[in-house]
Each structure stands twice: as C-alpha cells, then as structure tokens.
Symmetry: C2
Subunit: 230 residues, 2 copies
C-alpha cells in the first residue's frame, strides 16, 4: 500500500507539475486538459481522477505555494524587529513563491468575485487568507510600533489587502524585471510605515477617526464575505 500510495502521489505530482509548466508557458485558458495530460504522459481521464476540475489544479497550486511561503515568512520574522523590514520580508517571500507562476496568476486575477472558489476573497481560500493575515498580525506585534486601539484590530487585514494590491500590480507589470513593482513596493511601504507611525499623532486624529469608523463598517461583516443574497 505504501508502494502504491507513493506511486499515486508521484503521478499526481507529475500532473500538477505539467499543468503548472504549461500554465506558465501558455497561460491558463490557452492550456487544455488534454495538453496537461499529454505533457504528464497520462490519459485525459487520469488528470480527472486526480483533480476534479481544471480549477482544482489551481487550488492545489495555491496550497503548494502557501506551504513554500510559510517557512520563508517565518524565517524573516525571526530576523528583525523593525516593522519595515518585517513587512518587506513577509511580502517578499510571497513574491518569490509566486514568481515562477506569474502568468498563471494573471489569468487568475480575473476572479475577484468572492463567490468564485478561486477568488482570494472566497470561502474555499479562507484558510490560506487567514494564514496570510496571521503573519501580518505577527509582523506588527513583534515590531516596536504603537497602534491606537481603534485601528489595531484592522491593520492586519489592511496590510493583507495592501499586499494583494502589490501582487496585482506585479502580475501585470510589463516593465523589464518588474522594475516598477520593486519601486512601488519600496516607496509605498515607506509611506505605509510612515502613516502607521503618524497615525497616533494628535493632528491626524480626525482622519484616523474617519478611517477607523470606515473599517468598522466594512469589516463588521465583510462585504466580500458570502452573504447569500445577491
């Protein structure tokens, strides 16, 4: 049994790898299930034996990327107490995991709809998202920054959203070596960190109040969460 389990797992990996290779080379839509089967050296039916659908392959990819990312993010958190560096590390690790699959992500970013299983806001991807956010919490907590109590509970989610925005920009960044994303990352993070520090100053209190109110409303029950009514 451990024999066959091994072999089975091997086939599964071969199919997944074949799919990811083709997705990267030709794009998601352009790659057919037949192509994947052929590339993996199995029959079409076999790919459906291991993956319920084409989308399911993508989900498997998410999981795999997450598994790579967690230890890398973990490591950077242990290396510095500086907020900017902590955030840089965590987000950078994400970029590194996704880099070999930029093309796939491009086709995917189509699914913003929280109802779509593959959406970063969906229920099926919740565990991945929550994990991501928990690292933002830790990045903040391990750093020496003061957060006012009105903003504190929201900051991890806000940072997660910020990181998602960066990823989205990166996916479509056609400048060579994604130079622009690098600059955007560096400079915008400086702004983010500066704002976090400034946010506790009295002068900005009115704006902070507005922001906290807003976040309270939005996250009270998330509009990206799945209420069933349309």
């Amino acid at each position: 049994m451990s024999e066959s389990a091994k072999k089975s797992e091997q086939t599964r990996r071969r199919i997944l790898e074949a799919a990811l290779t083709l997705f990267q080379k030709r794009g998601f839509t352009e790659t057919t299930m037949r192509d994947i089967a052929k590339e993996a050296g199995v029959a079409l039916g076999a790919t459906y034996y291991y993956f319920d659908s084409k989308d399911a392959i993508v989900m498997a990819f998410y999981e795999q990327a997450q598994q790579e990312w967690v230890p890398a993010a973990e490591k950077t958190l242990s290396e510095s107490k500086d907020l900017k560096q902590r955030l840089t590390g965590v987000i950078d690790a994400k970029f590194k995991c996704f880099a070999p699959h930029r093309r796939l992500l491009a086709t995917l970013s189509g699914h913003i709809d929280p109802q779509h299983p593959l959406s970063p806001f969906s229920e099926p991807t919740r565990h991945i998202r929550d994990r991501d956010i928990s690292f933002m919490t830790r990045a903040l907590e391990g750093a020496k920054v003061k957060l006012t109590p009105d903003l504190k509970p929201f900051m991890p989610r806000v940072l997660w959203l910020y990181q998602l925005g960066l990823l989205l920009f990166w996916i479509y960044d056609r400048s060579s070596q994604q130079r622009k994303t690098n600059q955007l990352f560096e400079k915008s993070l400086a702004i983010v960190v500066a704002l976090i520090r400034l946010s506790s100053f009295a002068l900005l209190r009115p704006i902070r109040k507005l922001a906290a109110d807003l976040l309270g409303l939005l996250y009270e029950e998330s509009p990206v969460a799945s209420e069933t009514s349309v």
Copy 2:
C-alpha cells in the same frame, strides 16, 4: 438608404438591448450568443453581423453608458464649487449609469489585464478612460482647493483610480441596497478630501514627497500601458 439605415440601427439596438437584459438577468458567461439572438428575435448569424464578438457587445455597452454619463456629470459640475460635492456628483452619476448593469460589470471586472480589450486599462477603452479622467481634472480645477505642484498632475488619475476602486467594491457588495458601498463612498471621500487639503501642510511634506516620487515613477510611462514585452 436612410430607410434601411434606420431599420438596421433598430435591429442593432434590439440585439444590444436583448443582450444587456440577459446579461443582467443571468450573467455574462451564462448568456450564450444563441440566447441573445433568440431574445432579440433574430438568427445567430445576425448578431454576428452587428457585433464581431460577444465582447464587442460589451464594448458597445461601455460607449452607451459613457454617453449617458457625460451630460449627467456635466450637470453636477455646474451646480457646486465645493470639491466634495463635485466629486460626489461625478462619481454618483457613474453609479447611476451602471446600476442597471451591475451583474454584467461583475463578470467583466475579471479583466484587469491591460492587454485585454475590455479592461479599464486597455488601449481600446482609452478614450473612455481619458474622458473620465478629464472630468476629474475639471472637478478639481473648478473647486477652491490648493494642490501642490508636485501632486497636481497626478491627482486626476489618482481620483479616477479611486473611483474605479469604489465601483469594484460596489459590484460585489452583497449588503442590501449596497448599503456598504454608500457608507464606503461617503466616508472614504471625506478622507480623500481631507487628505487633499492636509497635503499642502508642512508636517506632511515628507510623506507627500514620497507619494509624489512614487506617482512620478508609476506614471512616467504607465505600467498598465501596453509595453509589448511580456
């Protein structure tokens, strides 16, 4: 000839209307070209005579919505000199035009890719986008606000992006009557306007500098513009 031109235009409208009705009722992907033809009372081939593709129908919709929006936006600009009210008016008009087609927009928001013709960042939609942005310019210029010269050239595009973000949120806002979007709109606009006013104060100079640098880099040649390299 004016006879047949009229009749032709009529058929075209009938097809467009049928499509939009179905898109709203069932969603874009779920509606087939056959459904549209049937609803419009023509043969499948006829719809392809008037519209090159399913996507082309959507493009026609964009144009139509824009045509509705322009005079409405125009009107609000003539009604107030207050920045917040001007922005509210312009953006609100957009929501009103799009409201009957929220469902269609949902399926569409999939195309963030600037390479995709229907993307809000694409070349084919540039004229629409530029028109939108020109209204942001006018909203700013007709109001009594001081903008520092480093930020000034970017603000219209930033505001356009802001409005796009609101639309995106709205599209997937499942709260009843899109209540959350309304709150988001109101409160975030207050923040935006407050930030614009604050931006000329000395204390925020360092952050403004960062932001201006950043915008300069991003828009120097837009990363969402179509460089041909991948």
